[in-house]
């Protein structure tokens, strides 16, 4: 059976991971390549690297880092942040990334999804959606949650899948950082309605939250950042727990 995936997410600024870490055994905890390699050894199934640099110089540093990650790490990894056009995708894949995630740029110009899928294949194209449950239902947000749009989460996710997205990475802004669990109801609706895998993001605080994202939210993968970075949840320990709960996991 296909295993559910556990994905640590690393935010990178000017070539360094941003969120602090408790990995005392690492020589350079801030080095995204070292940190990714450590997660891989612990049993992470994939990695996501997000470029949160705005500058041109920072972007070049990020591309160099992608090349070093590809040389060092033997599991799949996705890169995101600052992917606005096909040439950005080409640059990331040429540097060795397995997949790219697009977010705001795809909402502004949905054809980007068709272009990526047509040129490189759907398996390369992860569409990341930041959404918030408002009085008018789930709405999509842009630019890291700063700009509200009229787009509904379910409608946009379906359109993205129809246009050739290979996966949806759904972050609930209501749950992100709160550590009370993932948005399981919305996740289940996405997972049940769409023919592509759904990655749950936002809300992980305890191991039970991952179990619920898979069992109640029907997610195919679960992504988290701080609980892993701060060592609150160990990946090996989490994967053992999920296996004991009867979930198919790669150990």
């Amino acid at each position: 059976m296909l295993a559910k995936r556990i994905i640590p997410c690393l935010d990178v600024k000017d070539g360094q991971t941003v969120k602090g870490t408790n990995f005392v055994d690492l020589r350079q905890a801030g080095d995204p390549v070292e940190l990714g390699a450590a997660y891989s050894r612990m049993g992470a199934d994939e990695l996501v690297y997000l470029d949160i640099t705005a500058s041109h110089e920072g972007r070049k540093t990020f591309t160099d880092m992608v090349g070093r990650v590809a040389a060092k790490i033997n599991i799949p990894f996705t890169v995101g942040g600052g992917i606005n056009e096909l040439s950005d995708v080409d640059r990331m894949l040429s540097a060795g990334a397995d997949k790219v995630s697009v977010n705001s740029a795809a909402v502004r110009r949905p054809d980007l999804i068709n272009e990526i899928a047509g040129r490189f294949g759907s398996q390369v194209c992860v569409v990341a959606i930041d959404a918030k449950l408002t009085d008018h239902g789930w709405k999509c947000y842009l630019n890291g949650g700063r700009i509200e749009t009229e787009r509904g989460l379910f409608e946009w996710a379906k359109e993205a899948a129809d246009r050739g997205a290979g996966e949806i990475l759904f972050t609930s802004m209501n749950h992100d950082g709160v550590k009370t669990g993932f948005a399981n109801e919305a996740l289940a609706r996405l997972a049940d309605e769409l023919p592509i895998p759904i990655i749950a993001s936002g809300g992980a605080g305890k191991m039970e939250h991952f179990r619920d994202a898979f069992q109640i939210g029907h997610a195919d993968a679960a992504l988290a950042a701080s609980v892993f970075h701060f060592g609150e949840i160990g990946i090996a320990e989490l994967k053992q727990y999920l296996t004991n709960e009867g979930i198919e996991i790669r150990i």
């Binding site: 033997n74 599991i75 060795g96 996966e167 895998p197």
Partner: protein, 198 residues
């Protein structure tokens, strides 16, 4: 040892190069007959569309060449599918090294999403390619088409139904999964292939 990678119009050969580099091997990527023939072993990786890649191989006379290789050859993903008789992806005749046809995954229930993407378990492992690999070890797959189990099957995985995770016939080996992206398990499989070629 000399390791060659067949150069053609398939995507993402880098990850295989990196995987070999991590094992201390510097491969040559080439479509030159002489260079390929003198290599100790040959990798035939790839992502891409069966018809598009097969058309390219035929146009460049690489189809004849690949069939004539005498040293160990390892096909990966689309590489494996191209080594079969025929593919439903673009309804195209392939290299015919393995006497089996490539089929499209048809989901039976909505939980079964296509492509089959992620980590899945290997079972019924045979041959030295899987030395030190345990039953139910996981490897990484990304594919929408599959090779049914057949007389050349040396490893099976299950998605929707059982299918060939790896094939072997004479000097030809192939995996549907990506050993170069399959962590330490995949690294061991590549190392086993290189060891067989020494």
């Amino acid at each position: 040892m000399e390791v060659a990678i067949v150069k053609y119009n398939a995507g993402n050969l880098f990850s295989v190069v990196h995987a070999l580099n991590r094992l201390g091997v510097e491969p040559v990527i080439t479509d030159d007959a002489e260079l390929l023939q003198k290599a100790d072993c040959i990798l035939f990786p790839g992502q891409g569309h069966a018809r598009t890649t097969m058309t390219y191989l035929k146009e460049h006379r690489l189809d004849e060449m690949i069939r004539s290789f005498k040293q160990p050859v390892l096909g990966i993903c689309v590489g494996q599918q191209l080594m079969c008789r025929h593919s439903e992806e673009g309804d195209v005749d392939c290299l015919g090294i393995f006497d089996v046809d490539v089929k499209r995954f048809i989901p039976e229930v909505k939980e079964e999403k296509v492509p089959h993407m992620g980590w899945n378990a290997l079972t019924d492992l045979q041959t030295p390619l899987f030395k030190d690999i345990k039953e139910h070890d996981y490897v990484y797959f990304v594919h929408s088409f599959y090779v049914p189990t057949c007389s050349s099957t040396i490893a099976t995985s299950n998605y929707i139904h059982p299918f060939s995770a790896a094939l072997h016939k004479d000097n030809f080996w192939a995996t549907q999964f990506h050993p170069e992206k399959s962590g330490t398990v995949g690294e061991t499989i590549i190392k086993n292939f290189l060891d067989m070629s020494k």
